[in-house]
């Protein structure tokens, strides 16, 4: 079975077979390579066979998401343990990632003791650099003041917590779309943040690879469940001219992928509990699965940037 795109009738970078394979492999480990807007997938097994060690100049980082420390319902009674297992996986990687990105919902209820537990467990991770963006569960009590003090001070975040930084020629942008939400609406970035974004990328050359990370998806995954961001189109408008844009989100506790022009959207699994596929349940609440299936639906996402190739490879792996 091959994993390249053989038919691309919609010119959207994915054919029917590719889509079905994507669905089959999502959650079991899949490598996506983005090259000039074309999407190619390989299974983790194939990647392992290829076995090329990462050259020192290349960059690899890891996305973890939706730890929900403090959650103890049926869907996972020990989310601290599964978070630990995710960190063990990171520690076992042959090439340790340069840094981690946590795309929100560290906690279930924004309690200081939940944040403390997270920080304590995170100490076991060999990779020490972590970049954060908040989820709605992290800003329940004080609009995110506590979160910003603890996780965004070192990056000199602006406004409700947005910031950018450069690593190995890649421009990273952390956005906040979980505060000041409007009745009836979706996730929201807001004017101040959008104006900042426009100015932030203004001076960058179009060949600069861009990685955007935010909690709620920056594409309309399923607006009926609030899985989208009302003003994301405007943000993406500022990024249109770039040759490679990778958008990493959490929030929906499952791997979903979309390619639009040079932009690849990717959502990560949670380390805590799965959520139903869009529209397959009465609500997006935690999905109860048999105990032996749970770890197969939790996981993390590894991203690799090959210098000079302007391509990013996104690999999901589960905790089973």
């Amino acid at each position: 079975m091959s994993d390249y795109i053989s038919h691309d009738h919609e010119h959207d970078g994915i054919d029917r077979r590719g889509f079905l394979q994507c669905m089959a492999w999502a959650g079991t480990g899949l490598l996506w390579t983005i090259s000039g807007g074309v999407l190619v997938s390989k299974t983790l097994a194939q990647v392992a066979k290829a076995g090329t060690p990462l050259p020192a100049t290349d960059l690899s980082f890891l996305q973890i998401s939706d730890s929900h420390i403090g959650f103890s319902k049926e869907a996972n009674k020990d989310v601290t343990e599964t978070f630990k297992i995710a960190l063990d996986r990171i520690n076992a990687m042959p090439t340790p990632p340069s840094f981690l990105i946590h795309t929100g919902d560290i906690t279930q209820l924004s309690k200081p003791e939940e944040f403390d537990t997270f920080d304590e467990v995170l100490k076991s991770c060999r990779t020490k650099d972590v970049f954060y963006v908040p989820g709605e569960h992290d800003v329940l009590t004080d609009g995110g003041k506590f979160y910003r003090e603890r996780y965004l001070k070192s990056v000199e975040a602006k406004g409700s917590g947005w910031y950018s930084f450069n690593k190995n020629g890649v421009h990273f942008i952390g956005l906040v779309n979980v505060v000041n939400l409007q009745a009836g609406g979706l996730g929201q970035l807001g004017d101040d943040q959008l104006e900042w974004l426009e100015a932030d990328v203004k001076g960058l050359g179009t060949s600069t690879p861009i990685v955007v990370f935010a909690h709620i998806p920056l594409w309309a995954v399923y607006p009926e469940w609030g899985w989208g961001t009302s003003d994301s189109e405007r943000a993406l408008g500022y990024l249109k001219r770039f040759g490679s844009v990778t958008v990493l989100n959490g929030h929906i506790h499952q791997v979903l992928q979309k390619v639009e022009g040079n932009v690849t959207f990717h959502t990560a699994m949670s380390t805590a509990f799965p959520q139903p596929a869009p529209g397959t349940a009465p609500s997006p609440g935690p999905l109860n699965v048999p105990a032996d299936k749970l770890r197969g639906m939790l996981g993390l996402t590894s991203v690799r940037y090959l210098q000079g190739k302007s391509s990013l490879a996104v690999v999901d792996s589960n905790l089973s």
Partner: protein
Amino acid sequence: MYTLIRNQTALIILAISLSFLTNFALGQAEKGASADVAKTNQIVIKDFHFTPQTVTVKAGEKITWINRDEEPHTVVSVEKQFKKSAALDTDQEFTITAGAPGTYTYFCSVHPKMTGTIIVEKS
């Protein structure tokens, strides 16, 4: 140190007001049972919906939300016309007393797709 003392004071005040509220609520319930005056209107939060989505109450009546989801929700007045709830975890409740007649819209600030309406009529 100042913060600590202030927090302790706040806790004591909170404890006193809570016990007062409990007594008050109990008193209301007993009175209600005999004289049928303190009607409580319940709104259940389940599957990311407020049910019923629209409730009509008389001024002075109580309205209680109870969260039956495994996800925290809030109750926030769109026009900031009544105090907002804390994040309600599973089975936690939030109660307000209906004030001046009018139409009040509210939503969950965590999941803003969730909205509801309270219509308050003259008692």
